[in-house]
Structure formats: structure tokens, C-alpha cells
Symmetry: C2
Subunit: 677 residues, 2 copies
């Protein structure tokens, strides 16, 4: 296999050739062709070809393409597994990278379709009325930035790292320039090649840069570009303070490894389930990916009185684990990823050993197949190195604490971590520790016996939750569902008349003029409904008999509806109709009884009862198409459909709004789509 | 008046003394005592005294304190106006700074109370179920960072700039270290002194640094600190790339002036209202604050065929305006803010004049009382300087365009702007220009005759909308309602069992264990209700008679309820009860009929009809206290109350959830509060 760059729509087959070797047998896995591109034209290609191609699609279309691409790759996963073992990964390690990465891409696609507009841009939140008469309003929208996203990935998760950065940029409408780590780039390349082959990613939306040092690339970045960097804090800071990055205010997201801590609660004794769960988690985090994870547990903080028992339990558990060939299914831990990584690990471990006591492992066992190591720091509040120096391998340092406040202080001495965890059966302790540690963490996990079985684990970032941490961890934020997409967009506050804002956003903005429909809106198919289409219903006079009948039928005899005396003293001053009656009567006004395109009304949001309805008042409803969203037809669906949100306004005879809300409906589409199943 | 620093809870009266002179008469307005503080201890005081004091309050309490402080300052506004004229500000200029600043603080307080949790932290969004059985969930919360917010303000808005930065930090629970511009610091000081006197800001939550160069201050900042800088791009970038800022990943928000553009649509002719509105806005933005506004219109982009008429109209309008004494009510434009500013303006204007034609104003009129100037750039796509060089004074450059695409390209050549605007009567043009410019703007305003009367203007940031722009404008984001508060918080993803997450967040998390109440929840006062308190109602069998009666009463005869034949072919397979009946019957199950603490149910959110209810099904409801929020009693209120949100779950005889939603209620408090009116 030849690992080539993919630039300006072409595979680059010219360039210096070198071998990429397996960490298992040191034999070549692939050869690397080092491109020497003209970075200016590479960047311009992304901006001028990829950007426009992406921006003409809706967010949902881009998200669907990520979904279908991930499904396409899932079919080919076994070929990735066999390559992955040459990076030193066991089957379990590879699962996290390969399937973990594909699941993350699928999750981000689904979150984007659930939470973002089905338009090329996202309409964020409701409109803000900025004037008394309502002629001038504001509306935030998020639009794709017109630059590129330079994604610099770390060696340890060549697939996951590539996908968790690519998917949000792509869904946002921003082209990606992917720079894999040289150490594992043959695996990233194999996946990337299939991504291109899938046909789902339009020309220019992805480029792949298989070179070690990206030359003068940074000089060509501008104010609409973004850098997403995962790797060592030192390299990250160098790039972040690059003159060109500073000069153009290039967005920079830094995700560095950190000295993540795991705490054992003071309530937990060795007899409790939580103790075993804790030991299992620590050992798992030490050995998965041979400890080469930015989220691994580097500091194990335990009550002083449980220190000996913790050491015993860790020794017992670690005794089972010898590093070996990752391709062998019996192997629980593979080698380090490369000779470089191994040298770095040995050096870092040696420096930590100067200030700690060695509890487990052979300090002389240098090399790729280093075993797990446990160090002990007796006075963690007095030793800086254990909170600053990271040995990126299967090593953790035990730290005893006396009081809960001290445990919290030790955890926070990491100076900012990607993740922390606490094992406790006591929710009061959970609350104290979580609130004591929250400001210095991007994620914090609390485990007890009730949730341990289903826990996703200390080390696993989740597509729907943010990943990143303050300070030492880089101060960045990735993932977190739709948030990850918004990082690639420009938030802009639009101001103008509601009608103009509707025309710009493609969504109905309250106060905008509407188009009264000749046919009932519920007789129209998905394709025929447009934001701003409206119907105004006939009227209905609400009478005392309605209140009596509604109370009798529903059992709701609240005094404001039925007790003249109490109602007189209430906010209302006299008996009022039930709010739920107004809601139900409004449906009676706007529902069309015959079978038609409307399949069902499945939700209602943002209902506000604004003014009371008294017996004798006459109400009327107006239904306005607010926004729409395509839905993929699944095999189990009889017919294709989409979602339509209608704004409902119920007014009385003085044209005063008495209630307003939004209903969500499923409405049949006239035609199928290539995205349907 | 002596302008002193306020550090570590004390006024600093020792230090080098110098005079601060009026720009009107060059006489001393105040003397400045330059403190020489130990910055390490100043920072530690904020972190160790101010931070903890703020963090023990809820977000709402902090927001109330900002509100009351602003109201306290509003009483003293006339004393600020008289000082403000010595900065060169006319009454109108001062209004923007002083009342504009106080209105912004009040707006941010109100937005925070409306949108953020009434807890010391904010619980963001709903919980995310991360497991099949629901034992393991995720919940984002935003907690105050444990650092300080260093706020470096610009000279042009000493009051607005101070308040728009202080309010979000304070409400977030982060102490402020305010560094005013020396040029106008006597006005900032006068307001700050009253802020301290108001008594609403706890010790350590605000400090004031009246020194020109903050020495080695930046060396003392750490990973929990934030810098918010408004001023020149050059200084901002120097601070942003400071080694200490890079090393600790100090959060940095840069807001720099930019080359904002205003466009006249190709549809607008001189006979149209939009033309006059456009000319008025351009002249207003040139002259307000003598053009010293980071949001001022620096580039005026007009159709080539309207260039002559635009020039004529601008000349007519500018002919009225001569700079003069700002204290004189007849003066429409005051002097520049200082000799330094005046020298800088002359130099920048001279450089722009090298590449443009001078259309209006006397290029020789250097000095403080420089008149307004209009330049003309005939070929704006060929001249770089007009898009890069900012003359910070009453100067703007006219740029003709041939096509709409060219107009958009000219606007975007600013390389990132705080704000842009378009004057057009055609919403299709509005949509094209707004979407063409959105990615390079933080705010974009579209004006036509229908909204001009109520428009807040091109130059005015609004508390509820974001302020800041990409690239040249700094890439930062301020204001935007509750967003401004979240910038000072750390977002952390909590993971654990729903019950643990409820205990940590102080809010009911779906799936958590609940405490079944012995008394009906609607008989309890605000203070007696706690998240997780629940009641389970009696049951009710839904019958065919219910459907008939409900349809008859409401008029809702949708086929799924009434037409056996059509219902058979629908998603439901047979006739179902109305969703609104299930909702109304649930209220009948949980409402308590007697007068009690519940004043009203005024809203309903997030309703989902999850499963159909068929005749013969038996439903039951469960009401759970989800969260609470204190509300200030106003004079018009009879009694004090708070808001309580209840989660409602309606289940059938198989314990399947058929509907779930949240209701919002107003519930009486037992006692008053010092925050009540």
C-alpha cells in the first residue's frame, strides 16, 4: 500500500518515498509518499471548491452524507482491524478507534439532524423583539465559515480522531484538510481512501496531507479558517501562538492530554461493590491502548486508610496482564506505538520515579513491551511533578488523601483535565466532589453500583457530551452534539423587520407578514408547505356551559373555573375557562377532519397562556407554517414524510392573544428521496 | 477628585500623582494616583475573596445585585453627564455611554434570570440517556470558573464598556479586575466609586486598576482566568500572544474596531424613503462620539448610478454640522477625545487620502475639532488600504459598485467586521446580501421604511444580541443575553446515575428516584417544594364515550378519533383518544380543586405524545418537581411567589408512558425577600 496525499481532488503519487513499519514485526506495512504541495493552492482549493459545494447543501443533507459514509465504512471495518494491529492495538483497542469513531460520526449526524435547522445555515433560538410596536426584531443565525478546518490528529486514535473532527466541520459546511500523525497514518489513509470512494463527500470538501511537517502551511491561513489540534501541549501552544494564527485571529481549538484523576470516595471500603468497580476501571484505563490515551487515569486518589488494600487489589489485577502481540486474541495489552513513544515514555517515567515510590512493574523494562507500572506519591500536595508530568503509557500514580477537601485539592492540582471520575455510593459525597472539581474538568463521571454496569467508562468521550478541558487540557471544546457543528460556524445577529428576517432565514419569524392559504394547510403535502403560509380559522364563543362540560368531562374542578367566591379573590377576578379547554377548542378550530397528508400531531412546545378567556369571549386561531425538516423514510414506514412545525396563535374578540404555542406534525411527502431507505 | 485604584478592598491613596485634563478646556478634571500594586496579591484577592463570595450566591441573586446596582447608579446619572462632557461627549454621546451602559446591565440581568438556573451554577439543556436501561446518563452544567476576569476597556465608552464586561462576569460568579482607559478614567472612576458605595457587590468581587501600563500583571494569570480586551487590534494581539497567556491557555476575548460597511441596495433611488434613511444613518454614525466608535460606518457602499446623488445628499446633511463644545446643547459633534487620538486620526486620514479622492471636509483641519470628512474610492476592489486602515474619527469612505455580487465582495474585504448594514426595500436583495455577508460579520442590520422608525441603529450593540466579529474584528463574542454569562463559566459534562446527577445539579434529572409526597404538591408553598418531590395520581379509564364527548365539546372530529374505516388504515390501526383529551384528563387527575398556593399554570413545554391511548386504556399521571426559580415581587403583585416547573408523565395500564411534558406554575411564597419591591 502506498500512503498518498489527496490534494486538490487528486492523489499525489510523486514525492520522497519512505517505509511505514509495523510496530509488531518492524516490517513495512506501507510506503509513504511525502507530497510537497503548494499550500496556498491547497487552501484555496478547499475554500473555493469545497466550501461552495458544501454550502449549497442543507445541514441535514450534509449530516445524511456523513451517516451514509459511516455506514459505508462500517461494511469495511475488518480491513481496518487488520491494519490497526500494526499500530500496536489489540482488538479491544481497535474497537474504540474504529467502531468508536464510526459510532461518533453517526451520533454527530443524528444530533445535528435533531437539533439544527434543515437549511444551509442554523436559525438559533427565537427572534428577539427589539421595539415596542414589533417592527424591528433580532434573530441569531449560524452560518458556515468561508474558510477551511485544518485538523491535526494525534497518533493514538487515527480513525476516531479523524472522524470526530471531520464530521462536525463537514456538517457545518466547512471543508477539511486532514493531517494525520505519521505514526499511524497508514490506517488513517485506508479509511480516508474509502471515504473518498464512498462518493458522499463532494469534491474539495476533504483533503488529506500525508507529510510530517506541514511546511509553511500556517502562513496561508486566514481569518475564516480554523485549526483543530489534538496532541502534545507543547506543540499545540507553538501552533496557537504562530504569528499568522495570531495576526488573522484564526480560530484555534487545542485538545491536549492531561493528568486526569480518579477518586475513591471516603465511604467506600474494600468489601463494597464500588471498590471492585474502581479497581477494574483503573486497570482498564492503564492498559487500554497501552495507556496511550489523553483521557487515561494518571492519578489515582484514595483515602489513606484504603491505600494498602488498593495496592493489593491493583497488584492482583495487574498480575494477569503481560504485554504481547496485539494480533493474538489472548493479549490484554499491546506494545507502545513506536520506538519514539517508547523512548519518551521511559524518560517521563524515570523523571516521575525520582519523586515517587515504585509499587508495581519493572522500572528496567524499557522498550515497546513495557509492562504496567504503579507509582506511589505519599505527599501529593507537596510534589509538583506528579501533577504536571505525563508519562504517556501504562503508568499511574497513587495518591493518598486524609480529608475530602484534600482529595478535591489534589484532583484540581492537575491544572485542568479532560476528565475526572469518582467512585462512591454516597450522593452527598458525589455532590461535594463534583462541584469541587467541576471548574477544572471538561467531563466528570460518578460511578456507583447502580450505574457501573451500563457506564461508558472514564476514558470514553461521548458524541453527545463535550470533550475538552480547561488549562492544562488545552481549554478547547469538541463534540457535545450539535455544539461541535456550531464551532465551525459564525454566529451573526440579524436585525430588521420580522418580514425581512423571515425572507433571510427561511423560517417564519413572529410578527412577519403571512400568506393566507386558500386551501386548508392540513390538505397540503410536505413539499407544498412553506414558512409563512397561514390559515385563520372560524370563531367560537366560549360559554359557561363549555366550562361546566369540560370540567365534568376531564375532572378538572379547579376553583378558578368552578368557585365564584374563590375566583373573585384570585388573579383572574372571576371564573375563567380552562387553559386546556382553550387549547383543545383551538385544535377543534384548526383540525381538518378528513384523512389527508397530516399523519399526526406528536408534540407541542413553548405554550404560554397569555391572557384569561372568560365566558362570553370569542376565540379564533391562526396556524402559521414556522419551519420544516425532511425525515428519512425507514423501511418500517409506509410512506415518506417530513416534520412541519406550526405556530398557533389563539386570539379573543379584542384581537388580544390569549395563548400561543408551536405544534409539531408529521406530514406526508409527495415524493421519495435518494436519502430514503 | 482623585482617581484612585480600588484593590484588595481598599482605595489606594499613595502613588505618583498626575493631572487628568478636560479635552474641552485643558483644565484638570481630576488627579490620578498611580498605584504600584503587587499584582500577585491582587489576583489572589480576587480568586480567594471575591470568587468564593460570589459562588455562594445563585446566578439569580447575582443578577438581582447587578439590577439593583444599576438602578442605584441611574439615580446618580446627572453627575456622570457633567463629567462625560470633559471627555468630549455631547449629551447624545453620553446617553449612549451612560444610560446605554446601565440599560445593558439591566438587560443582561433580566436575560440571565429568564434563561439561566436559579442555582449557583447553570444546568444546561436536558439530561442525555447514555444507556439502554437508563441507569447511566449525562448532564451538562456550567459552573463559575475559579479565576478572575481582567477587563481592559477602551477610552471611548468608559461606562458602557465597563458595565457590559462587568455584568456578565459578576452574574457568572467570577470576580472582575477592571482596567479603564487612562483617557476617560475619571468618568469610569466616578461610576465605579458609586458601584462600591451601592453595597451590592461583595468584597473582592470588583477591583479597579487606575494605572496606565499594568506592569507584570499578565505573568500572574492562570488557567482559570479570562482576559476581555476592547481596543486596538495591535495591542490586543500583543496581549493574546503573551507567553503567560499562551502557556496557561488563559481565555481571551478580543474585540477590536473594524472597517464596518453600510450598503445601499440597488433597488433604492433618491426618491425612496430608504435613501433618506440611509443618508441619515451614515451621517449619524460619522458624527456620534465624533466617529470614535468601533461600530461606526467606515465604508459606504453605493450603486455606481447613485454615487452623485449620495454625495450631494451627504454634503447637504454634513453642512449643518460643525464641531463645538460638547457641553453646549446646540453642538451636534464634539472634539476628538485627546491630543493623542487627534494625532492618530490625522495620520490615518492622511494615509487614506493618498489612495482616495477627498469629497467633503477640510484635510488641513487637524486638531481636536476636526470636521467630518468623506473620501471616495473609485475602484474599491483594487485598493487595499480602504479596507484595512481605520481612521478613528468622523471619516468615512464612499465606494461605488456595479453589481450586487461586487457590493458583497467589497463589504467582505473588511476581513471581518463587528457590524454591517443594508438599506433596501426588497427582501430578495436583503436575503442575498445578508447571506453573502453573514460569515464575515457579528451583526448585520437590514433597514427599510417599515422598521426604520423603531430601529436601534447600525452602531448600537444590544444586550440580547451578540457583539463581536470574526477576523479583523478580533474573533470574539460579547453580550448576546445569557451567552455572555456562559463565557465566564466552565461547561462540564457530568455522567452518572440519574439519581446522582439530581443530587449534584439540584434539579430533577429524568429517571432519578423521587420522593412521593404525603400531601398534595399543590398544597405546598414555594419554599416547601424540592426537586424530586412527586405525587402519583389516581387512575382513569378512557372510554369511547370520552372520545365522543371530547370531540363534541371541542369540535375536533379528526378521522383518527371518529372514522373507524380511515383510522384502521392510519398509523394507529384503530380509533384513538385525542391527545388533547389525554392532556386535559391528566390535569383533571393532578389538579387540586381548593384554593391553595398554586396561582396558575401559565405554560407548557416539551410535550411529546409518545404512545396512543385507545378506548379501554387506563391512564395515570405522575407530577414531579423539576426545578424552581425565585421571582421578585413587584408592587402590583398581591403576594410574593416563585416559579416551579413540574415534569408530568402520563402512563397507561402497562406502565408505558403515553405523554410527557413540563408545566410551569406560579406558586405563592410563604415569606417575603429583601429582593421584593
Amino acid at each position: 500500500m502506498e500512503v498518498q496525499s489527496y490534494l486538490k481532488g487528486e492523489w499525489v503519487s510523486e514525492g520522497d518515498k519512505s517505509n511505514l513499519c509495523s510496530v509488531i514485526n518492524n516490517k513495512p506495512v506501507a510506503s509513504l509518499i511525502a507530497a510537497e504541495p503548494d499550500y496556498h493552492s491547497v487552501c484555496e482549493y478547499a475554500r473555493n471548491v469545497g466550501g461552495p459545494a458544501l454550502r449549497q447543501m442543507s445541514i441535514h443533507e450534509r449530516a445524511f452524507r456523513i451517516k451514509f459514509m459511516a455506514q459505508f465504512l462500517l461494511e469495511k471495518k475488518e480491513s481496518y482491524y487488520s491494519l490497526s494491529s500494526h499500530t500496536g492495538a489489540t482488538r479491544r483497542d481497535s474497537w474504540i478507534d474504529i467502531e468508536g469513531g464510526l459510532i461518533t460520526a453517526l451520533g454527530l449526524s443524528s444530533q445535528a439532524r435533531k437539533n439544527l435547522s434543515d437549511l444551509p445555515w442554523h436559525v438559533e433560538g427565537g427572534a428577539v423583539t427589539l421595539s415596542r410596536k414589533g417592527t424591528f426584531s433580532g434573530q441569531h443565525i449560524c452560518v458556515p465559515r468561508h474558510g477551511l478546518a485544518l485538523q491535526i490528529n494525534a497518533f493514538n486514535f487515527p480513525v476516531w480522531g479523524m472522524l470526530e473532527k471531520l464530521a462536525p466541520a463537514f456538517i457545518a459546511g466547512v471543508p477539511s484538510l486532514i493531517k494525520p500523525s505519521p505514526t499511524s497514518c497508514f490506517l488513517a489513509f485506508a479509511v480516508f481512501r474509502d471515504m473518498v470512494e464512498s462518493g458522499y463527500l463532494p469534491e474539495g470538501s476533504v483533503q488529506f496531507l500525508a507529510v510530517d511537517i506541514p511546511g509553511d502551511l500556517l502562513n496561508h491561513l486566514g481569518s475564516q479558517d480554523t485549526i483543530l489540534f489534538t496532541g502534545s501541549a507543547a506543540t499545540g501552544k507553538k501552533l496557537k501562538s504562530h504569528p499568522s494564527v495570531i495576526e488573522h485571529n484564526v480560530r484555534f481549538n487545542l485538545e491536549a492530554d492531561s493528568l486526569n484523576a480518579s477518586l475513591l470516595g471516603p465511604d467506600v471500603t474494600p468489601e463494597m461493590d464500588e471498590f471492585d468497580i474502581f479497581i477494574r476501571e483503573v486497570v482498564s484505563e492503564m492498559t487500554v491502548k497501552t495507556g496511550q490515551k489523553c483521557t487515561a487515569i494518571r492519578r489515582v486518589i484514595v483515602p489513606a486508610e484504603q491505600l494498602d488494600k488498593t495496592i493489593d487489589a491493583l497488584k492482583r489485577k495487574l498480575g494477569d496482564i503481560t504485554p504481547g502481540n496485539p494480533a493474538d486474541p489472548a493479549t490484554k495489552m499491546g506494545p507502545l506505538a513506536s520506538d519514539d513513544q517508547s523512548a519518551r515514555f521511559s524518560e517521563q517515567a524515570a523523571r516521575l520515579m525520582e519523586v515517587t515510590e515504585s509499587i508495581w512493574g519493572n522500572p528496567e523494562a524499557d522498550g515497546l513491551y513495557t509492562g504496567a507500572r504503579v507509582l506511589l506519591c505519599h505527599k501529593p500536595m507537596e510534589v509538583d511533578e506528579v501533577h504536571q508530568l505525563e508519562a504517556f503509557g501504562p503508568l499511574t500514580t497513587l495518591m493518598p488523601y486524609q480529608t475530602l477537601d484534600e482529595a478535591i485539592a489534589i484532583a484540581n492540582r492537575g491544572g485542568g483535565s479532560l476528565v475526572g471520575s469518582l467512585f462512591t455510593a454516597d450522593d452527598e459525597i458525589a455532590a461535594r466532589v463534583a462541584m469541587g472539581c467541576a471548574h477544572s474538568h471538561g467531563r466528570f463521571m460518578i460511578i456507583n453500583r447502580s450505574c457501573a454496569g451500563e457506564s461508558t467508562g472514564h476514558g470514553s468521550p461521548i458524541a453527545s457530551l463535550v470533550h475538552g478541558g480547561p488549562g492544562r487540557a488545552g481549554g478547547g471544546e469538541e463534540l457535545g452534539g450539535a455544539r461541535s457543528v456550531l464551532h465551525h460556524m459564525q454566529r451573526v445577529a440579524l436585525q430588521g423587520s420580522p418580514t425581512t428576517l423571515s425572507a433571510i432565514t427561511g423560517q417564519y419569524v413572529k410578527g412577519s407578514t403571512t400568506r393566507e392559504s386558500e386551501n386548508h394547510l392540513f390538505k397540503k403535502y410536505f413539499e407544498e408547505l412553506n414558512p409563512g403560509d397561514s390559515i385563520t380559522t372560524h370563531r367560537r364563543t366560549v360559554t359557561e356551559a363549555d366550562i361546566v362540560n369540560f370540567g365534568g368531562l376531564t375532572g378538572d374542578h379547579f376553583y378558578a373555573h368552578f368557585d365564584e367566591i374563590a375566583a373573585k379573590n384570585s388573579l383572574f377576578g372571576k371564573r375563567v375557562a380552562h387553559g386546556y379547554f382553550v387549547l383543545s377548542a383551538a385544535a377543534g378550530l384548526f383540525v381538518h377532519p378528513s384523512p389527508g397528508p397530516v399523519l399526526l400531531n406528536y408534540g407541542l412546545d413553548d405554550l404560554r397562556f397569555i391572557a384569561p378567556v372568560y365566558p362570553g369571549d370569542t376565540i379564533q386561531a391562526r396556524l402559521i407554517v414556522k419551519r420544516k425538516s425532511f425525515r428519512q423514510k425507514r423501511e418500517s414506514d409506509k410512506e415518506p414524510y417530513g416534520m412541519v412545525w406550526f405556530d398557533v396563535e389563539v386570539t379573543n374578540q379584542q384581537k388580544t392573544t390569549v395563548a400561543e404555542y408551536t405544534i409539531t406534525t408529521l406530514i406526508k411527502r409527495r415524493t421519495g428521496s435518494p436519502f430514503d431507505q
